[in-house]
Every structure is written in structure tokens, then in C-alpha cells.
Symmetry: C2
Subunit: 357 residues, 2 copies
């Protein structure tokens, strides 16, 4: 792909499309004026928006797509809608017109289409969904968040590689620590698969960064920078944590509305409370990334506003500008080949999955 770094943007995905998408582009374009955007959707609706959003207009090129993939559409059905905005944006990545794609549309469709059209990186069995969240010690990246409901040992090891590369290239951590999510006491320790994955990681190039098993508490505690788990557990953990934070936000609102003196108290503590609110703002963590594909794929929350979409764009731009996929290739090489069936230690050609560094 020649020319300026380009991101294909599904302009029609999400509850507030295309307004929130173009509004988000306006914000993101200011942060990264060197980025170019291929804005895909109904040009008749997008043109008027671009006259309002000048910076977005300067950074974006329009590409028409007549259809939209609805939130309720099953991935198998979505595959057949070839002129949908999401599909045309994904096709642009496969064709080399863009280094990545971002959409606030149907998650299942985005994942399925990306897998089929963009395809996985050589050496990666299955892509994973990852996201960054807040913790006591700074940002934590967790994966998989639902792309793979069941995972084998190999998948878990690959997730660790992807998480490591993401934390290095996007979060800028020189040697991110990695934990494998498990349950509490000795008696209850998770299955053979987790033990095997831990064993492989310990002996691998990631060994010095691997901190072994972590528990649910460790996600918000920030015990490790990267949390690796299967897609079912990760999806439940992510949403449980978000739900708990939402509960507290709602309760705090009630507290500060409960009496006149509580209202006054709120006003006095407001600067610090606002910083806390901003820090925990789900919009700041918007942008789940689909890792392991032949291009950058970012999913914005469907219900987000322009500010939130801009954050997801930031993640996508960082991945493109910091060469996430080059990092992935290097990371996989460092790990040695993982492509033996079932994640066994013997890799293709009889080579053991040995630490390379």
C-alpha cells in the first residue's frame, strides 16, 4: 500500500451514524492530521455532514455504499450484502486501499467479514478481540473478549503474543507483564488447558514477562498489563466489570442528589470527582480491537457519541501508525512456530516450540 496511512471508516454503523462517525472523525483528524480516511457509506447523507465538519472533509475521501448491515443481522446473512458500508470498508483493506477498518456496527458481522475477507496473519489460528480498561496501576489490556467462545492451548498462547505486541506498540510499554486468568484456590484451579498454556508461556520468549495465573481481582488491580483468557470468560469479565462501575456511577449520582448538603458537597469536590469520572469514562476506553488479522480492525461501541468514536479512531490510528501488524509478525517469529495442531509443543517440521530469544 502506497501513500499516506489510510483508515477505512464504516460511516453507517452504530446507533448515531453517520453523525457520530463524522463528528468523531473531526476530532480525530485534529489529533493526527497525517492520517487519511476512506469514509464509506451513503454519500447523499455524508456530503452535507462534510460541509459542516471541515477537518474531517480535508482528511477524508468518500466511497459510496448503498446498504447497511443491521445490528440484528446474522453474520451469515451479512456476508451476502456486498454493497454494505461495512463490507465495502473491509474490502478496501483487502484491496490495499487502507491499512485498517473501523466500524461501530454489528460486532459479529465485523468479525466474520474480517476473518473471511481480510484473513488472519500467517501463523495465527484465530483472531481475538481485545480492549483496554482502567486499573489501579494504569491501563490493562484483556483478550479474548468474545471472538472465540472456546479456545485451545495454542489460541491462549497466541492471545498472549497479540496482547504483548498491542501493549508494546499502542500502550508504549517496553516489557508488558502477562497473566493468564484462572480461578482461586488450589482445589478449584482451572483445567489442563490453562496449565499447558502456562507451561508453554513460561518456556517461551515471553517467559520473563509472564507472571503465571491471575484472578478476577487482578483485572482492576492491574497486577499485569495483559490479561489472557478465553472469549467466553473474557466477555463475561469485561461486562461484569463495566456493570459494577456503572452501578457505582448511578449510586454516586443518587448520593449527591440525596440532600442539599450532599449537593453542596458535590460542588466542593467537583474538580476531583470530574477527573475521576473522566478517568472511568467508558468512552475513553471505547474501541475493541480485533487482533491477528491481515490489517487493523477496530470495533467502536454502537451507542457511543462523537467523542467516544474519536477514541476508537485513536486506537485504530495508533495501531496503523505504530506498525502493529509488523510488530505482530516479529512477535510471532520470536515465539517460534505455534501452528501444530491442538497447541502441542511439537511444531511443524518436528521443531519444538522453543524459546527463541
Amino acid at each position: 500500500m502506497a501513500g499516506a496511512p489510510t483508515l477505512a471508516v464504516d460511516a453507517m454503523g452504530g446507533d448515531h451514524a453517520p453523525g457520530a462517525v463524522v463528528g468523531g472523525l473531526e476530532i480525530a483528524a485534529e489529533r493526527h492530521p497525517e492520517m487519511r480516511f476512506l469514509l464509506v457509506g451513503d454519500t447523499a447523507r455524508l456530503q452535507p455532514l462534510l460541509t459542516r465538519y471541515r477537518r474531517a472533509a480535508r482528511s477524508a475521501v468518500l466511497r459510496h455504499a448503498a446498504e447497511v448491515i443491521g445490528d440484528e443481522m446474522k453474520p451469515t446473512a451479512a456476508l451476502r450484502v456486498r454493497n454494505a458500508s461495512m463490507r465495502v470498508a473491509i474490502d478496501a483493506v483487502a484491496a490495499g486501499d487502507a491499512a485498517g477498518v473501523i466500524s461501530a456496527g454489528n460486532t459479529g458481522a465485523l468479525l466474520a467479514l474480517s476473518k473471511i475477507v481480510i484473513k488472519t496473519l500467517p501463523g495465527i489460528d484465530r483472531p481475538a478481540m481485545a480492549a483496554v480498561g482502567p486499573s489501579e496501576r494504569g491501563d490493562v489490556i484483556m483478550l479474548d473478549l468474545g471472538a472465540n467462545v472456546t479456545c485451545d492451548v495454542r489460541n491462549l498462547v497466541e492471545f498472549a503474543v497479540m496482547g504483548d505486541v498491542f501493549a508494546r506498540t499502542v500502550l508504549g510499554l517496553p516489557a508488558p507483564t502477562i497473566g493468564l486468568l484462572n480461578v482461586g484456590s488450589e482445589e478449584m484451579k482451572g483445567g489442563e488447558q490453562l496449565r499447558d498454556a502456562a507451561e508453554i508461556l513460561k518456556e517461551s520468549a515471553l517467559g520473563p514477562q509472564f507472571r503465571g495465573f491471575v484472578e478476577g481481582y487482578d483485572i482492576a488491580a492491574g497486577t499485569t498489563d495483559v490479561i489472557v483468557t478465553d472469549g467466553f470468560t473474557g466477555n463475561v469479565a469485561l461486562k461484569t466489570g463495566e456493570g459494577a462501575l456503572k452501578l457505582v456511577r448511578g449510586l454516586l449520582r443518587q448520593v449527591f442528589e440525596s440532600s442539599l448538603s450532599a449537593r453542596l458537597g458535590y460542588l466542593l469536590a467537583r474538580p476531583a470527582l470530574d477527573r475521576l469520572r473522566e478517568w472511568l469514562d467508558p468512552r475513553r476506553y471505547n474501541g475493541a480491537v480485533m487482533l491477528g488479522l491481515n490489517g487493523v480492525v477496530v470495533k467502536s461501541h454502537g451507542g457511543t457519541d462523537a467523542e467516544g468514536f474519536a477514541h476508537a479512531l485513536d486506537v485504530a490510528m495508533d495501531m496503523v501508525l505504530h506498525g502493529f501488524n509488523d510488530g505482530m509478525r516479529a512477535g510471532l517469529e520470536r515465539m517460534g512456530r505455534l501452528d501444530a495442531p491442538g497447541g502441542r509443543k511439537e511444531a511443524g517440521g518436528g521443531q519444538p516450540l522453543a524459546p527463541v530469544l
Copy 2:
């Protein structure tokens, strides 16, 4: 078992034993003066405590046990320590001297010893660990929390029965709603096992209370009164939610210490903030219950204080006094027999697992 309702108490389990245990007994004895306690442990250490805690002394009878099962001891090793306080307390339930047992000691050992010594209720394949937590709409009970890392369809259905009976007898809900924990979008929906369990529950006596699949968000939202999941997922979800709440508590402390006006704001909002803190206090939710056994088994958090231990005692006393296990037997009968292998719909004697009510 004749006489007053009695609870066997492992006096030596937990980080602050026996002080926190006897202190908790003192509080709990005031709430339920009709309860009797069999206090098991090192009598040389317990006697002096009982001279300080008068109410506890009036409600409790001592039984000597020389040994203690350490937190790091594996369940297989714990099984061999026959004169450990936890073991002697569990033996008292099996012998009919007590209707239930409570311990703040080693979770894995408590579970393993209870299974072997007290045994499961007829018709129950595997016991489950459950706990109550806060939500937007009141208390929510979730199970399994780690007793069973892998579960089959039958186990999940049994967990729903246990959760229903617990919510009725301990939380006092006349028709608790039940949800089966799953992941988000269509594409990602959890495996066949969850679909089968949902199908069985829908057709069962619990059908009218069953709300189908719920997600991680729904735990703190309180979408259903009972959340059913496998022990791995439940353990991770519980600890993730607790971790998130702990994160916010820490951040709020920082907020209110960040400036003079924030301190003043805290003082003004204090009555409402204190109510919130109290409502979210982990001690208020202390006491994980092991359901499906031939007796009441409650695990207190090892690090809790007397106040927290008293809450766990409350749960145990409620289960004993409200006839939890009679409720379990009735609940299982209503459901029909579930004891066909692999949770298939055909039950013993060729009888289908049909709705009975």
C-alpha cells in the same frame, strides 16, 4: 437431630481466628438468641475469649480440636487431619449434632471435606458455591462460584434449582427470576450446553421464573434475582466485580483527600456516602454458601473481622432456621428427577424431565 437449632462453628479458621470468630458469634447471638453454637477448636484459647464475650458464651458449647487446617494445605492432605477444627465441626453435622457448619478457613478443604463427610442431597450430582451481592435492583445470588470448574447441563439445571430455593428461603422472594450467564452477540453465543440447559429450564417447573440468557452487565443491573453459571466463569465474574468495586472505593478515597474543598465536600455529603459505603461493604455480603449438601455449609471470607463473620453467621442461621434443605428437597421434587447421565432429558425409569407444576 433433636433440640435447639445448632450450628457447628470452626473457631480456628481464617486470618483473625479465633478472635474474629467468637466476636462474630457475640454479634450473631444477639440477633438469634434461639440458635445454639458448637464452637470447635483449641479450648485453651477459646475459654478466655468466652469470658469476654458473654452472649457468645451463653449460646455456645465448646468442643476441643487440637489441629488447624492451614490455608495452603491441599484438600487431599486436609482429609487426613482428623482432629482439625474444621473436620470436627463437619463431623458434627454428619453425626446430627448440628444442622450446619461455618468456617473462615481453607475453601478447597471445606468443600472437599463437606462433600465426603456430609455428602450431597439425594438427587444432586454436585454441590455448588453461591453468594449474594449488590445490584441496582437489590440482592442478586450467583452460583456456581468455583466448586465446579467444569459443569454439564445437569449441573447447570441443578444450580438453578438451588439458587431458586436459596432466594426463596433466605432472601424471602416468592418467585425469584433466574438467568443463565452467557456472552453477547448472536455470533458469539455460548455452547450447546448452555442452549440445552436453557431448553430444559424453559420446559421445567422453573419455566415461569426463567428469563433465558443474561450477560455480565446483568449481574450488577440485577436483571434477574438468580444468576446461574459454571464455577470457572462465576469465580472470575465474582472477583472481577469485587475488584471493580474496590478500585472505585480506592479512587473515591483519593478524590476526597485531594484538596481542602474536596475534604469539606466529603464532610457535607458524608451521611449519604456512608450509606453507600455500608451498602457496598463486602462484609455485608460475606458468607459463600455451599449448596446441595446434606446440611448447611457456609464459608466466611478468611480475612474478615467479627462484623463480617457475623454476617456469614446470619446467612448460615437463616438457612438453618428457614429450613433451606427441606426447601431443596421440595424444589428437586418439583423439578422431576434430573439424574440421567449428562443431563439428557430422559431421566431414570424412562420418565421425561417434565414440568411437574
